[in-house]
């Protein structure tokens, strides 16, 4: 190319950049999404600790995730916060820090029911998943700790019982991370995948000084650790089949995990974020045997072939092509990665092409979710941000320990940073970790709960006022597991087709979204709903009005001999 050619190219590039900027600015300015800080009025007094006492153990930096779930079945989504525990050398306090369950009273008011419910574990909580592991109709909780894990069985009366010992899922003294319930062999009983971070012990911790200041270690300073896979025996006990299942064939530095049917072969696969190592994608053969296939499937690295400091992950069909894509958060100076599902369980890094990394490069990114904040029928992205080094500003002014979170609005398949317009830039800076997304006030708009390290959490009430409609779907399995974990729901409203899957465990070592949410734009009804249950069952429902929660029971509307029955729309109710 000649110098003139270069000039012309540069001029074209500049022109194209300008067009892009104008589009982006216009889209940003028009964003309807509004999130208001409602923490103070919520009644939530929880304050997180990472267990730190000056020793800078690596396990401090990764605390903690959180869960949103309706534990008491009253139709209101409650919040469960994990907490760190005083680590070796940190003064013990009375009462000790503990996890906290807040019951949703309605109207964005919450009540601390930790004591009453019995889920105030005082371990060093890192990850959590909620699911009805015993199919009794009540959501149970699995808490992934540094040290023994805890399985809380929901008694159905507002209380829980620690059944860890009987269930056999304590998993020793490992550094637990993200956890997911999945029905790996489609037997109707939810199995359990528990990622483990690194082989850390107090004995192999070595102090570190960088740029003259004490710093936390990174995961490469430690040996990686294989994950644990527990098969649900269906009688309240689990068997450790980590080796037999193929899960323990590889060791990683696991963090956030999400389980989904990536290749539409009818079984549930497992995606695992590994911190500065290749991510894992465990492909299920349908019987609970897995083969790690991340490299070949395109999710092990970013598109350069670099292993990012992967943190949290979520999956959703951002481009509405019927295939579930993956989004992954990561470390400072790394763009988060949007892995587009190419339609066959093979993925490609589409971050550049979609702008999915906008506004987040200088920050460490943690909690994340594909969420339709404005009910326009496409999935936006939320990224919870905050550095691991609490003194990072002393050595690097390009980032910060406490910073803003980022919201990227999906505008025609491209992501636009609307953090300022939606209100996130007006909030106090925090060092966020886990984030959960659910409709906490049942107004049809998805709200946000962010767990902030060493701080009170942030509750963001979605006050987007664009008149868009929605449909919420809650599944009730009969042959398959009770909450329909692993089932895929397709909602068709006119030309708008959306697909989602029920997950247990997602984001940054957390849990949210048991109730599926579909934004409908200005459409006031849904033409067709298809539920593909794990195990092959299909329910088809027609003509559902918008703006309600629809509970669909497995088998309530069968498709027989090509006939679609409109028998019962489940138990629908207006919200």
């Amino acid at each position: 190319m000649t110098a003139k050619g270069v000039d012309r190219t540069a001029a074209r590039a500049a022109g194209a950049c300008l067009t892009w900027l104008l589009l982006v600015s216009a889209a940003g300015a028009q964003s309807a999404i509004r999130l208001r800080d409602a923490t103070a009025e919520s009644g939530i007094a929880f304050r997180h600790t990472d267990g730190s006492g000056g020793h800078r153990y690596i396990v401090e930096t990764v605390a903690s995730g959180l869960a949103t779930l309706d534990y008491d079945g009253d139709g209101l989504t409650d919040v469960y916060f994990l907490n760190g525990a005083p680590l070796k050398g940190t003064p013990w306090t009375e009462p000790p820090p503990r996890n906290a369950l807040y019951r949703n009273l309605g109207g964005f008011r919450f009540e601390d029911v930790t004591q009453k419910s019995g889920v105030g574990d005082t371990g060093h909580g890192l990850g959590v998943a909620a699911a009805d592991f015993d199919n009794d109709g009540h959501l149970d909780l699995y808490v992934s700790n540094y040290g023994p894990k805890i399985l809380y069985r929901n008694n159905g009366d507002g209380t829980f019982t620690d059944v860890t010992r009987r269930a056999g899922v304590a998993d020793g003294s490992k550094v637990g991370a993200g956890a997911c319930f999945l029905d790996a062999d489609a037997d109707g009983h939810l199995d359990l995948y528990v990622a483990n971070y690194v082989r850390f012990t107090y004995d192999n911790h070595v102090p570190r000084t960088i740029r003259g200041v004490p710093m936390y270690h990174g995961p490469r300073d430690y040996d990686p650790s294989p994950a644990t896979f527990f098969r649900n025996n269906g009688d309240g006990t689990f068997a450790d089949l980590s080796k037999e299942s193929g899960i323990a064939s590889v060791a990683g530095t696991g963090m956030g995990t999400v389980c989904f049917d990536c290749d539409a072969d009818g079984d549930t696969d497992v995606f695992v974020c590994n911190d500065v190592r290749a991510n894992f994608l465990f492909l299920n053969d349908g019987t609970g045997k897995f083969v790690e296939s991340g490299l070949i499937r395109g999710v092990a690295y970013n598109f350069y072939g670099q292993a990012n400091g992967s943190m949290g992950a979520d999956c959703g069909d951002f481009d509405r092509d019927g295939w579930l894509d993956l989004f992954m958060t990561d470390y400072q100076n790394e763009l988060p990665v949007l892995y587009k599902n190419l339609g066959n369980g093979f993925f490609e890094d589409f971050t550049f092409r979609t702008g999915a990394g906008a506004g987040s490069l200088p920050y460490v990114k943690w909690g994340t979710g594909f969420v339709d904040f404005d009910n326009d029928g496409d999935l936006d992205l939320f990224l919870a941000c905050g550095h691991i080094q609490d003194n990072i500003e002393r050595v690097d002014d390009s980032t910060a320990y406490e910073t803003y979170n980022v919201l990227l609005e999906n505008v025609g398949g491209k992501f636009v940073d609307v953090s300022a317009q939606c209100g996130l830039r007006s909030l106090p800076k925090r060092s966020a970790r886990g984030a959960a997304f659910d409709d906490l006030d049942n107004d049809g708009r998805i709200d946000v709960v962010v767990l902030n390290s060493r701080r009170e959490p942030t509750l963001l009430r979605n006050e987007t006022a664009n008149g868009n409609h929605f449909l919420d779907v809650r599944l009730q399995g009969v042959k398959s597991n009770r909450d329909g974990v692993g089932a895929q729901v397709t909602v068709i409203a006119g030309e708008l087709i959306q697909r989602a899957e029920v997950h247990s465990g997602r984001g940054y070592q957390g849990h949210f979204g048991t109730r599926l949410h579909f934004g409908l734009g200005q459409r006031q009804k849904v033409d067709r709903i298809e539920v593909r249950w794990l195990g092959g069952g299909l329910d088809v429902l027609l003509d559902a009005p918008a703006d309600r929660l629809l509970t669909i029971r497995e088998g309530s509307s069968r498709k027989e001999r090509g006939q679609e029955h409109r028998r019962g729309l489940g138990s629908g109710r207006d919200l």
Binding site: M1, A13, Y331, N333, I388, D396
Partner: protein
Amino acid sequence: MPWFSEQPEPVMEQTPSRVGRLVKRGLVLGGATAIGLVIVATIFRGRPVPPDGEVLPESPNREVPAHLVRGPRSAGPSADTPVPETYEGLKEESLALGARLVQRYPDAIEALDLLASMHDRFGNLAEATRCWHQWLDRHPESAEAYFRLGRFAREKGKHEEAAEYLEKAFRRAPSLPGVQIHLGESLMTLAKMDEAVAVLEADVDETRNNPNRFLLLGHARLQAQQYEKAKDAFRRVVELAPEMTHAYFGLATACAKLGQAEEAKKHFDEFAKRKDREIAADRADVLQNDLPAVRQVAAVWYVRAGELFERAGDEAEAEAHWLRAGAIHPADKESRQSLLRLYQRQGRADRVARVEEELRKIVSQQGSLDDRKGR
């Protein structure tokens, strides 16, 4: 470390541990500073004496023009001054060196580049940016300033701003090392794949055989769905630098896109094998304290400062700075090589012999260190 990873193109850096990344970033920045200074010096050498405040034009001239020397001499630490034992002490001494250079040679871009790089290395990107903005105010056509500001903007995640600066730098000096690759990557980040391909395909002498350019070009072509051409680019990388792990990843991806499953698998296997080795090497390189690495970088700064003095004809200052470099980092070879040349030119046989002996010891110690590491 292979030669190409010392280029100032972060896209090709391997991903180390979190703190390691900070350290490596420092080393890379230090290396980049050193390389940048060589680059800038090369450009600077090529410039005739400009009127005060005018843009520095290009012409070969190894000396710092006398009129650029404005500030007074001010004494820095000598070789005998105790070397700071703390990071803060080294930082203070380094920044004082940068400030002295800028004061003495306010219109010498090397001095400014050195100071700005120090600020950047010490985590003060704002101050580094300010340095270059000030330079730009006085030299509005400075490609180097646009280049540095583009790089800093990229680091801050300001992709549009980065592309704008880098485009200006590229338009002014397409051969400025790093600018083509940084602009290409910035355009890719903005999803301007065709523009990125065009920039990376531009025939620039300095990058004709740069594997990093071809690696990025391969990825830009992949993103632009030009798979056959992408494969060609990755093949070129392997020809130029067969040790470059990421080339195999690109090659495998291109083959997979072309439906060449067997070849894709072969390259994926090669990539995975190399990646495993890199992880093991990274683990071995973990630092508990980066003070030695900072010393190494500080020594490089003193070496560059000495070169600046040498070009200005101030051999005494050049010698003092090279001696200081050796004092700060006793295993530094470059300062000894500079001293050797100086003493040979000055005919100081005793000094020549002494420095030769020091160099022999350094080479021998580094050799045994490499042996211990099995390299």
